[in-house]
């Protein structure tokens, strides 16, 4: 049974296709991801909140879905667009097909779309608002819906995806992940990491737990005082969606925390750290989303292949003089990491926790653990 569905962009372009997953209408910012694998992790990454994702890999759904691959407890993407939806599921780990998985979670998706032409459209015209519907098949009407959707610029989305209450995390990583040494404080007690949830991916937590950390996750709105009340060994700033400049309360909290304890930030956490340090952020034309981006580590010149998902970036030229632009994207020169030695804080724009993506930057978690260990010795 094929179900006609339509995608409309705010600039008036429309793309018909075949609907799958849920029925209804959804809006969001349309973005593309060039990862060949990992659609389930992408769909459940809270950083995609409010975004309709185009997968450039034409064949999607081949390996179905499995609970282990969820990066959060729900699908955050506003919609999914693919070229060819697999008619079957083939993988020993799969428990559900992608259409069933999406339908169950109320997510609308579109297949049989010329995704390459769509990506080129976005590459040329930039990220924009879009509407996807299985009900509104009138082109003009759906374009109007797209134009009425909210604008990401200046929008605090972290507040929409963060947890309501603090909680402890216990799950460690599984067989597929790289091995790493476990760390503990000098007295043998595990390090206690307080992690800000701006849209936390589970694999970050797994990586910390795997290294022997005790992890407390706190909402995005937690104040510096609330965080320090846990007496943490280190503070982690998670990934997340939206415009970093809009998350003013978190920027304020991080500014207060600077210098108190080692801080490690990823993605939105990196941008918030940058803003707290006094730098500025800006929106990229169409962002980086994929698992193949070359990032050069300024310290040694080595290149890591990294997993990216960001529409905003820290403007390296606005970094204070004592803050180092530590990672550079070799594709476009964009700032991908910073180190503030005096404040014992560092962050990366990309995703060392991978899931999906390569494990090249796994060592950053070890560095965070090392900072906490060094802290104890002082």
């Amino acid at each position: 049974m094929t179900r006609p569905a339509l995608l409309a962009l705010e600039d008036g372009a429309v793309w018909p296709g075949v609907g799958f997953g849920a029925v209804g209408t959804t809006t969001g910012e349309i973005v593309f991801n060039t990862s060949l694998t990992g659609y389930q992790e992408i769909l459940t990454d809270p950083s995609y909140h409010g975004q309709i994702i185009i997968m450039t890999q034409p064949h999607i759904g081949n390996v179905g879905c499995t609970p282990e691959d969820n990066e959060s407890d729900r699908v955050w993407a506003a919609g999914l667009i693919v070229r060819s939806l697999s008619p079957v599921v083939s993988n020993w780990r799969a428990v559900q097909s992608l259409p069933d998985y999406l339908a169950e979670r109320g997510v609308i998706a579109l297949a049989d779309v010329n995704t390459r032409a769509l990506v080129r459209h976005i590459r040329t015209h930039g990220a924009m608002r879009a509407a996807l519907s299985t009900e509104i098949l009138d082109e003009d009407e759906l374009v109007a819906v797209a134009r009425a959707a909210r604008d990401m610029n200046g929008l605090d989305l972290a507040g929409e995806v963060t947890c309501a209450e603090p909680y402890h995390w216990h799950e460690s990583q599984e067989w597929w992940a790289p091995t790493a040494a476990k760390h503990a404080a000098a007295d043998g007690r595990p390090f206690h990491v307080v992690a800000y949830d701006f849209g936390m991916k589970r694999n970050i937590l797994r990586k910390l737990t795997f290294r022997g950390c005790q992890v407390t996750v706190v909402p995005a709105t937690a104040t510096a005082q609330e965080v320090m009340a846990y007496n943490p060994d280190g503070i982690f700033l998670s990934n997340g969606p939206g415009d970093p400049a809009a998350v003013t309360y978190a920027i304020d909290a991080v500014r207060d925390l600077l210098g108190q304890k080692p801080i490690f930030g990823i993605c939105l956490g990196h941008q918030i750290l940058g803003l707290a340090l006094g730098a500025q952020t800006y929106k990229l034309k169409f962002g980086h989303r994929g698992g193949n981006q070359p990032v050069q580590v300024a310290a040694h010149g080595g290149v890591q292949i990294s997993s990216h998902n960001h529409g905003f970036a820290v403007d390296a030229s606005t970094l204070p003089p004592d803050v180092i632009n530590s990672h550079i994207n070799l594709n476009d020169g964009c700032c991908e990491g910073l180190v503030a030695p005096q404040q014992r804080a560092f962050s990366v724009q990309y995703h060392p926790e991978s899931s999906p993506g390569p494990h090249d930057s796994d060592e950053l978690f070890d560095r965070f653990l090392q900072m906490m260990a060094d802290e104890g010795e002082q």
């Binding site: 389930q40 890999q57 034409p58 010329n114 390459r116 032409a117 193949n292 070799l330």
Partner: protein, 1079 residues
């Protein structure tokens, strides 16, 4: 890190002749390496015995040695050229093994040559299975349970732990030679024995069989800063058990989750580090258990490979070029990505399309050989296709194979009657059997039988489902709706095209011809668009017009309005149509670019230089079918299309292209037809008063017999319109004639059979000529070493002819000129002659590039293909300065290599059916040395002492006496079977009598296997091979004893032996030979 300035001259060994398991992908990698290193200012010294390669074009290196790839010869070259470094990783297994030999023999150290790209230690770990296993276990990389054994006894102990089925692999061999799977003790002993013999170090690995597991490959690169990238993931459709070179493969991998894929990636990185590959490309192969995801690393190659060529073409990431740059010190981030121009090579390509590779086999040429696919590679070429989806790419790949199939279609049910049981066995045509077998109900059973992942089978099923819809449509009144662009009919046709359906398949289902479907499509604007292979899934703009067709919107081709010419390539390599034609296409491309044309290449063979995005201005990676080519012509509107360089494949398209109004450059299509149509051609020869063998065209066995009786036995018979002497045979009597007719009827059912007079005891001469409409200039005259009756592609030949009289030469020249004019040739022409007594017969004319064009170019120093391309663009030979046949200094001998060691069971006698896969060249100032070199390069080491086994047919006995005398005088002991021995004894030659195989006493096989004889001369008499002869040939192949099957070749071998005893072989670069350039 900047490039190294402490090295100046770099030696690159190539891979030698094309053999199964080592094809023209190493010409591609070698050319890339040469170009990249010279651009960086290094002096490149290239060694390759294969004259058909583009890399041995004198323009590609500073010094080019077409010399045997042996340590002795390499040492001589090193002594002359004094390279600072040797790059061992772009010449396949041959180049790698040779480099190891040079290092181990201390030659590199002696001359201060360092290995770059891979050091000795790393090569040893990767290549030596016991070291590899140890290194992998130390790095916590899972490898299969296995044991190395050096004898059958040890093997029987090892199997106790491993259990059946067990996989046997011979160490240090290529293409899986000497490997096999054993399911029973009897089978096990046989396979182990074969493996021990095949391995140069007498070592085989017995390991846990992973039969039925999924197989994946990662093509990876690492630089000396430890940067690591995966260029491409490849999934084999055929599960473990089938050599990856014989598997249908796809890119990217489709049935792994990200967790599983990243695990493979981590393992690949650990493997690279554990092996110690500091710079360059490698290939890591994995087996994955479909039931629980268990992963085992099967092997790694610390060099560029067939898979890396495929990965380069599949992604646009030029692995060999980048490997060469890494070897001289660059890091990945310092090398720009040519295609995006703005991003560096230190990234992992993302592809938004699907790539399918299908191997091409030639089992039909080897009756008796087993078409079951296993760990020993048997295919001779491959096709690659790109589509947006797997079904589209698969359908394009099938038609690109050029085996007469239009795609994955239900129509194959008319040809095959497969069963679920039957498709359990992996064999060459299994995919087509599935098209006939697969239904809505049984697809899971098909997956279980074949071991194909259910995902692939479901995709195949989707193709058939659309075809079923089409067939249903044909029942209704679909024509009535066509006027409506939104009609169900048109949308179904669009859907079919999006799945890669050929017009022919759509037509077959709708009751239309291919042409009618095309017209219908064009009228309804159902046309392909062309997308760019951009390495980045459209994230960045692609500046390189490397294109593939698909049925989507928004064409990215952006044709220019320059003067442009399109060159049609040869498609997948196969016996009879190989690298020689790619050489011609590439040369043509360069020549036309120099003339200011925009060059457009169309080809679908991923192994080639022609499909490097760097070769032509624009590359269309497309099947060579009329439909696909016309679509490109519609878009590009070239000034001309060149068909004469790609072999028979583009020639076969000529009529269709011309009928569609496409401007064909060069020889007019009618002349091509005139040369191919025996009736018309016969009339032309009579008109020109040119002698030719008597012949007739038979449509029934009775007619064939009548013709044979009219012209007299022996006769040569063959089906009309076939390539490479397919099903061609010599019949000596009524019985054999009728038997061969049956074979011919199977090959070309319903087609007429040609019955030719076979001129016995003649020798053959091949001529390549260039014609501009005014002048006919012979570029080279080659005399075959083997007598007429052996396919020209299987015969050794020498240039200049060493036994052709001036009288015969003048006739040959005269006939060539007459034919060139009469056929109105523009460009290249090849004429084959048979010379007997005072008569010169014309056997055939091919108004196109021939297999020998690159050989002639290397021998004469004249770029024949380039000149021919310029002629087709309107230049005259006078303008190009080629009005006289080039003088040849010294002798150039071409020898062929045959694949019998890879295809056990095949009849090994040379025949009119071509079966060689590749060729080598030897050159020297004397014929004997040139011949000895060619033999050495082909792996046949002529002995300078020892014993010779002679067994010749009765007609050859008298001629064999002189041969025996010469060998005896040089100190060789003689062994002979009774008849031959009696003849030799009569003239007083001492000879030891041996029995034929299977007889009592010491047999021919015994003296071969015991190492008593170093050379075998056997001349069989027509008809069938006897069992004893087959046994002797098998022994010769097994124990690598040179075997000569014609007296003329034996005489040449004696010349060679004589020369070798006089003086050791010398080396000389082509540049110094032809241009006197100093090294």
């Amino acid at each position: 890190m900047p490039k190294r300035t402490d090295i100046h001259t770099i030696l690159i060994p190539g891979s030698g002749p094309i053999v199964i398991g080592q094809g023209c992908e190493f010409d591609y990698s070698g050319v890339q390496a040469c170009k990249a290193l010279r651009r960086e200012g290094y002096r490149v010294v290239l060694v390759n015995s294969n004259p058909a390669t583009i890399m041995t074009d004198p323009d590609m290196a500073d010094a080019t040695y077409v010399e045997p790839l042996t340590p002795d010869i390499l040492e001589k070259i090193i002594a002359v050229e004094r390279p600072d470094a040797l790059l061992p990783t772009v010449g396949g297994q041959t180049g790698l093994n040779l480099s190891v030999q040079l290092a181990e023999a201390g030659i590199l150290e002696k001359y201060g040559v360092q290995l770059i790209g891979a050091d000795l230690q790393a090569i040893r770990i990767a290549e030596d299975r016991s070291r590899f296993k140890k290194a992998m276990l130390a790095a916590d990389v899972p490898v299969p349970v296995s044991h190395f054994v050096y004898s059958v006894e040890e093997a029987l102990v090892a199997i106790e732990e491993i259990g059946y089925p067990a996989l046997v692999r011979a160490s240090f061999t290529l293409g899986g030679t000497g490997g096999g799977i054993a399911t029973s003790p009897q089978e096990f002993v046989r396979v182990v024995e074969h493996g021990l013999r095949s391995s140069p170090v007498g070592e085989v690995l017995i390991e846990r069989s992973l039969l039925g597991w999924k197989e994946f490959e990662l093509e990876v690169m690492r630089d000396r800063a430890d940067n690591f990238v995966v260029v491409c993931s490849i999934e084999n459709v055929d599960p473990m058990g089938v050599h990856t070179g014989d598997s249908i493969t796809v890119a990217p991998a489709y049935t792994l989750t990200d967790k599983e894929y990243q695990y493979l990636r981590d393992l690949a990185k650990r493997v690279m580090r554990a092996v110690g590959v500091e710079t360059g490309g490698s290939n890591v192969q994995f087996a994955v258990n479909p039931l629980n995801g268990e992963v085992i690393v099967i092997e790694m190659n610390p060099r560029v490979s067939r898979s890396s060529a495929l990965a380069s073409k599949a992604t646009g990431f030029p692995i060999a070029k980048i490997a060469a740059l890494l070897a001289v010190g660059y890091t990945l981030d310092e090398i720009p990505n040519d295609i995006t121009q703005v991003t560096p090579a230190s990234f992992e390509p993302s592809i938004d399309y699907s790539v399918v590779k299908i191997p091409r086999w030639n089992f039909e040429k080897f009756p008796g050989s087993d078409d079951t696919l296993g760990p020993q590679m048997k295919s001779v070429g491959e096709v690659m296709a790109i589509g947006r989806t797997f079904p589209e790419a698969l359908n394009k790949a099938i038609r690109g194979l050029d085996v007469g199939l239009p795609g994955f279609t239900r129509a194959l049910a008319a040809r095959y009657t497969p069963t679920l049981e039957g498709v359990k066995r992996p064999f060459a045509e299994r995919l087509y059997h599935l098209a006939a077998l697969l239904t809505e109900e049984n697809w899971r059973d098909v997956s279980a039988s074949t071991g194909y992942d259910p995902w692939f089978v479901a995709q195949l099923r989707e193709i058939l489902a659309v075809e079923e819809e089409l067939a249903q449509l044909a029942v209704g009144d679909w024509r009535a709706e066509l006027a409506d662009p939104a009609s169900a009919t048109l949308s179904l046709i669009r859907k079919a095209k999006r799945m890669g359906f050929a017009d022919a398949v759509i037509g077959a289902n709708l009751g239309l011809t291919e042409r009618e479907v095309r017209e219908l499509r064009l009228a309804s604007a159902v046309k392909p668009v062309y997308y760019r292979v951009d390495t980045c899934a459209a994230e960045f703009e692609a500046h390189t017009p490397y294109l593939y067709s698909t049925y989507e919107s928004d064409c990215e081709a952006n044709p220019t309005d320059r003067r442009k010419v399109m060159i049609l390539g040869g498609g997948p390599n196969r016996i009879g149509q190989g690298i020689e034609f790619d050489y011609c296409c590439v040369q043509a491309c360069w020549a036309l670019r120099d003339l200011g044309f925009e060059t457009i290449m169309v080809n679908c063979n991923p192994e080639t230089v022609s499909t490097d995005y760097d070769t032509a201005d624009r590359l269309y990676f497309e099947p060579l079918t009329l439909e696909d080519v016309l679509n490109i012509v519609d878009l590009e509107q070239p000034e001309g299309v060149i068909v004469q360089f790609g072999g028979q494949t583009p020639i076969n398209l000529t009529t269709g292209l011309a009928a569609a109004g496409v401007p064909i450059w060069g020889t007019p299509p009618d002349s091509i037809d005139l040369a191919e149509d025996r009736g018309r051609f016969g009339a032309l020869l009579r008109e020109l008063d040119i002698d030719h063998p008597q012949w007739g065209l038979a449509y029934s066995p009775e007619e064939a017999l009548a013709i044979a009786h009219r012209i007299g036995f022996p006769v040569l018979i063959r089906p009309s319109f076939v390539l490479g002497g397919r099903a061609m045979a010599i019949a000596y009597d009524d019985a054999s004639l009728l038997r061969f007719l049956q074979d011919a009827a199977e090959v070309a059912p319903g087609k007429a059979v040609l019955v030719d007079q076979y001129i016995e005891d003649a020798y053959e001469v091949d001529v390549d000529a260039v014609v501009d409409g005014e002048h006919v200039v012979i570029a080279g005259v080659m005399q075959h070493i083997e007598e007429a009756g052996v396919h020209s592609g299987d015969s050794a030949c020498v240039l200049p002819p060493y036994k052709v009289s001036l009288y015969h030469l003048s006739i040959i020249r005269d006939y060539t000129e007459k034919l060139g004019r009469a056929l109105n040739v523009r460009g290249l022409m090849n004429v084959q002659f048979a010379v007997k007594d005072d008569v010169v017969y014309v056997i055939e004319v091919n108004p196109r590039a021939s297999r020998t064009v690159p050989f002639v170019s290397k021998a004469t120093g004249v770029p024949v293909a380039k000149i021919a391309a310029q002629v087709q663009a309107g230049k005259t030979l006078a303008e190009l300065g080629l009005l006289r046949m080039p003088e040849v200094d010294g002798f150039f001998v071409k020898e062929v290599v045959l694949p019998f060691d890879k295809l056990p069971g095949a009849d090994t006698r040379l025949s009119p059916e071509m079966r060689s896969t590749g060729e080598v060249m030897g050159h020297a100032s004397h014929f004997g040395h040139a011949f000895a070199k060619a033999e050495l390069a082909a792996g046949m080491i002529l002995p300078t002492s020892g014993a010779v086994l002679m067994t010749v047919n009765d007609f050859d006995k008298s001629a064999a006496l002189k041969l025996g005398r010469d060998l005896h005088r040089m100190g060789f002991a003689l062994y002979a079977t009774e008849g031959t021995a009696v003849a030799l004894q009569k003239v007083g030659l001492p000879v030891t009598i041996v029995q034929k195989a299977f007889q009592e006493g010491v047999t021919t096989v015994d003296v071969i296997s015991s190492g008593q004889v170093q050379l075998i001369v056997n001349t069989p008499l027509g008809g069938q091979a006897h069992a004893d002869q087959s046994a002797m040939y098998a022994a010769a192949i097994r124990y690598k004893v040179p075997l000569v099957t014609t007296l003329s070749a034996a005489q040449a071998a004696v010349n060679g032996i004589h020369a070798l005893r006089e003086r050791a072989l010398q080396v000389r670069s082509l540049q110094r030979h032809h241009f006197g350039a100093s090294a």
